[in-house]
């Protein structure tokens, strides 16, 4: 039972970050109908900025803030300089442009910072707190839960309670109509990219210290799983991304703990297949899937 609890909590902590990463993919999908393959590389780039700032100042929180700001800027930059001009004639083109950016960013990071791994400090201890002989949650896990939770609530409030959120949603779902009503769709699109990139930046910053360390390829695997999570949850659904993230995290942990680490990619494939056969547009998708 202890082991079950341990594996579950460990999976939830990892799943929370996957959820955050998936959320960043969902935001772009909703705003622009694009799956951004460069998201992982962009997030790693911002983490390098955080790493540099933290190393220079010795302050984790300054690093965190700079990563989020850098995420906003980088997202807007990518939209304004590349994605805007890709055009909508073929959904493939945005995928390929994303892949091109992925290669450029990873290679640039390799050239600037080198290919080696760099250890990243955590602001809180990662040693689990023992409660009644059962140790499961570490302060850092709690920090992850709180960060992701705050982010989800913040985004939900932004999208549902503010006029900015309304304009964002309007220009995503009915850009022409929104434009007629005075919403500056193009600006909203840039904002969507910036938001998404900032969310991705935060997710990468949270997960990299629990992985091997900072490296241009640090979140390659995380990106693949996050994409899977977004698909499991339904690309249109923010709630689906969160639930899907937690579910995939826990399944990964259980399979790893009870069946063997080798099987985890197969388990993800089976989970994905099962979900997609039952609900081809993801577990939580409310609308009928679109053909993009």
């Amino acid at each position: 039972m202890d082991r079950f609890l341990f594996l579950t909590v460990d999976g939830l902590a990892r799943g929370a970050v996957l959820a955050a990463f998936a959320l960043s993919l969902v935001i772009i999908w909703r705003a622009a109908r694009i799956v951004n393959f460069a998201q992982g590389a962009m997030a790693v780039a911002t983490t390098y900025i955080a790493f540099t700032v933290t190393s220079a100042t010795g302050n984790y929180w300054l690093g965190l803030a700079s990563a989020v700001v850098a995420g906003l800027v980088l997202g807007a930059l990518v939209e304004r300089t590349v994605m805007r001009f890709v055009g909508n004639t073929n959904p493939l083109n945005s995928v390929i442009a994303g892949l091109g950016l992925l290669l450029v960013i990873q290679a640039a990071l390799g050239m600037i910072f080198g290919n080696g791994y760099r250890a990243m400090a955590t602001p809180f201890s990662s040693t689990p707190i023992s409660v009644g002989g059962v140790s499961a949650v570490s302060p850092y896990d709690l920090f992850i839960f709180i960060c992701v939770g705050l982010m989800v609530v913040g985004l939900a409030l932004l999208f549902t309670k503010t006029s900015l959120g309304l304009r964002l949603r309007a220009s995503a779902f009915a850009p022409d109509l929104a434009r007629l009503l005075g919403v500056r769709s193009s600006r909203m699109l840039t904002l969507g990219w910036a938001l998404s990139s900032a969310v991705g930046a935060l997710a990468a910053l949270l997960i990299i210290p629990t992985e091997l360390g900072l490296n241009p390829h640090a979140v390659d695997t995380v990106f693949v799983y996050a994409f899977t999570v977004a698909v499991v949850g339904g690309l249109d659904s923010a709630g689906g991304a969160v639930a899907g993230g937690l579910a995939v995290g826990v399944v990964l942990s259980w399979v790893s703990g009870y069946l063997g680490a080798t099987l985890t990619p197969i388990a993800v494939l089976v989970l994905l297949l099962a979900v997609l056969l039952l609900r081809p547009a993801g577990l939580f998708s409310m609308t009928k899937e679109r053909t993009a």
């Binding site: 890709v86 442009a97 290669l103 450029v104 640039a108 693949v224 698909v231 990619p265 056969l277 547009a281």
Partner: protein, 393 residues
Amino acid sequence: MRPLTPLVSLLLAAAAAAALIGLTFVVEPFRSYQLATACAYLCAVAGLTLLTGAGGQLSLGQAALMAAGAYSYALSANALAGAGVEGALLLLVPLGASILGASILGVVIGCAAGRLHGPYLAGFTLALVVAIPAVTSTFSAVLGGDQGLWITVEKRPTALRGTVSNEQWQAWLAIICAVAVMVVLNNLLRGRFGRQLRAVRDNDAAASLSGVNAARTKIISFTVSAAAAGLGGGLLAYVTQSASPGAYSLVLSLYLLMAAVIGGIGSLTGAVWGALIMVFLPYAVNTFTANLPVSADVAARLDGNLAVAVFGTILVLVILLAPRGIQGLITAAGRRFRARFPPGQSPSNPASAVVPVPQSRPSAETPSSGTQAPATETGTPPSGTLSTTKGQR
């Protein structure tokens, strides 16, 4: 222009194969090897052109199907060699097995993925290709784990040894297979199946209403694409004498897709450009960077990374400046040339020079066939007849 009968098209294909085979006599063995790998990749890229270009189904799993082909080749070749089989049988049966093995996986994926659209299909095929190393590790007794399988291959016939290098022989086999794949896929795309595929891509509800079985069409397209990729994988296994999970990674899948798009996903000719770029561009860039006069420290940072950066930049530029790929550029250039100098007229004919050619609507024959075809093609919506506009989607 003269109409082209299947016989003539076969003759042309044979001529192309003969020309390429002749080429292997004048180039160095390493070029032959590159040509062989380009042909192997061409099979997979052409399969992707059919599936994604004409069928509109975004698959990131082409490497998994190549892997299925490569492992089928390896297992059957080793089994045959173990049983003492030699000669042409040891060459042809494994190639057949690679097509069969990948086709079976293609049917399975097609059945599962036929209902999925766009990013959902991409997500599923992504998870599939990522699971390959896990599959080979789990069944390492049969599939050889991370290290993969070594293959006993039938080398070139004894009569050719001394006159023909091993690389040349490998290139011949790959050229013949690739040309065969191109002929088959070309005929499929030009025929009824191609029209159905495009109809389903453009509007599957409308296609179903007009009597096209959308699900069946999708499954067939997956299977055909898988068979082509499987043959490519089998060829790669033959040429490299090995099948290992590292060779069929997500990166290969992404590169195959990039090759198809850069070449021009609208046509099979684009696949030729794509496969060539896949082999020769990284090679050219690496050769270039290796000769840059920089210090040891800078060289260590640039090594490898610069090539990746250049490749990525070219990719982004192609998408921004020539979204229909190289073949799109060539078609447009050809059209502009013809518009300025129409055949049979004097080059200075002002009438044709001033007629602007619409950039977004290629295919010079569209006006005639586009208006008449709906009347004759009863079962297909009009958009299905725009056989050369598939790259626009």
